[in-house]
Amino acid sequence: MARIIVVTSGKGGVGKTTTSASFATGLAMKGHRTVVIDFDVGLRNLDLIMGCERRVVYDLVNVINGEAALHQALIKDKHTENLSVLPASQTRDKEALTLEGIEAVFDELAKDFEYIICDSPAGIEHGALMALYFADEAIITTNPEVSSVRDSDRILGILQSKSRRAEKKLDPVKEHLLLTRYNPTRVEMGDMLNVEDVQEILAIPLLAVVPESKDVLKASNHGIPVIHQQTTDAGQAYNDMVARFLGAELPHRFIEPPKKGFFQKVFRSRA
């Protein structure tokens, strides 16, 4: 049975697409047949990050509308075996997505793939709801700042109430926290929330911390997921994330030893 995993956050610009690309690539590198789907219809980006933008002919909306067969729309990744990309449409909007259509696509993908990774658009509207509805697990991508944490909290509430698993009263969606763009120096200065602060607010298990890194932007611009660059911190962090997701127990890296938390600093003055 294929596992459907949504990469979501609520807030934009936190690293959902970067994470989707590296996470899917990582799973495929470990030998798992994986497909990554761009749900950001109208603002497609995943194909750029994956470096396959010139090979996009058909897209998710074409498949849902029956204008193309699934195998015509799937793009085999050049760098990694076992990995395919299902791009979003640039010319449609998110209303083109329907639950029936998506379910049919998932049913067909489940025959060939072990993992279906859904790259959610930002927001909590139709597109994001479509991306998370069928999810078995969710990667909650969060930056260490208050608005991102608040939005992640909101998305967690939606996963618990509006996903298929919630509506059908099945086991709840398994939630993983991924803290991205983490800058230990700024955390130390008190500019950013630290890992404990975020975990305390969201109260879900931490999957990995990905440090803020110039390599991420460079990799995105080159269309090669950063996980391919194993000499970089970000690449190694994503590698750890994939290994932990698959059950390995690794110590968390790229976190400075715990310092006094943001909340304690702010609220100490109130006492």
């Binding site: 909290d153 967690l156 939606i158 618990q160 109260a203 109130r270």
Partner: protein
């Protein structure tokens, strides 16, 4: 609770206020007027002075779904003869227009605590709430257990930002309440995790409602319409109890926070 909708009572002809009243509910089991009149007459004979100018709400949600619309005008007339004044019907969305054309108010069906268990009956000529008897049955008492407890809602997952939880009675949260989440309860609120969101107890006007929480970092607390916000309260009580285990109650129209 009475909530004032217009201001300055001295300058105005009237003032609108909300109020909560206990009314007798008549549950209709079928729409047959003949059997209704027979039962009503039998009851009147047993207790001729029991109902005097008694307002009655007729519950229609107990009717079978496929039944014809009851003749509300005729029923209202018969009830009137027995001293009952039909003021409104409740439930049965499909009968809403029928009620309107009969000049009656229509109320949505909401399950309440007491009505299942208590019915007005005569005792020594005085109306008194006693245990329920089947009015059309053999006079045998029905099981009346379980008045309390059934209204308490227990939530064992975190309440996330943007979620709103309402309980007509007490509300018990076993996990945390995130900022931007809202708890509403007719009765008390208990939070056994961290309370960072909003908690409004006694929303139906119960000033005795209280809020208990294990770790107090709330955005807003309210009891029976009296509220306090995290920023606007005087320096001392809110921040002194920040992060602590507290009890919040209403006394002399003020919210009091004290350590548990």
């Amino acid at each position: 609770m009475n909530s004032t909708l217009t201001s300055k009572p001295s300058n105005t002809a009237f003032q609108l206020k909300g109020g909560i009243f206990t009314l007798t509910t008549l549950e209709l089991h079928n729409s047959c007027l003949i059997s209704f009149c027979q039962q009503l007459q039998a009851m009147s004979e047993k207790a001729p002075h029991f109902f005097q100018q008694t307002p009655v709400v007729m519950a229609l949600e107990t009717l079978p779904a496929t039944v014809d619309a009851p003749d509300l005008r005729a029923i209202a007339g018969r009830l009137r003869e027995s001293g009952m004044i039909l003021v409104a019907v409740r439930g049965g969305e499909q009968f809403r227009y029928t009620a309107e054309s009969a000049g009656l108010a229509w109320l949505p069906f909401q399950k309440t605590k007491s009505e299942k268990n208590v019915v007005m009956m005569q005792q020594n000529g005085q109306p008194m709430p006693v245990e329920r008897h089947e009015l059309n049955g053999t006079g045998q008492k029905e099981d009346t257990s379980g008045i309390s407890g059934s209204e308490t809602k227990i939530i064992d997952q975190p309440v996330r930002s943007g979620q709103q939880i309402y309980a007509p009675g007490d509300l018990v949260i076993l996990s945390q309440v995130s900022p931007g989440a809202e708890l509403l309860a007719g009765g008390h609120i208990h939070v056994y995790g961290l309370l960072r969101g909003r908690a409004l107890a006694g929303v139906n006007g119960d000033p005795e409602a209280r809020i208990f929480c294990h770790r107090f970092e709330a955005e807003l607390i309210s009891i029976s319409g009296h509220y306090k916000l995290t920023g606007q309260t005087e320096e001392s009580s809110w921040s002194r109890h920040w992060g602590q285990s507290v009890l919040i109650k209403l006394a002399e129209d003020r919210l009091h926070i004290s350590r548990l």
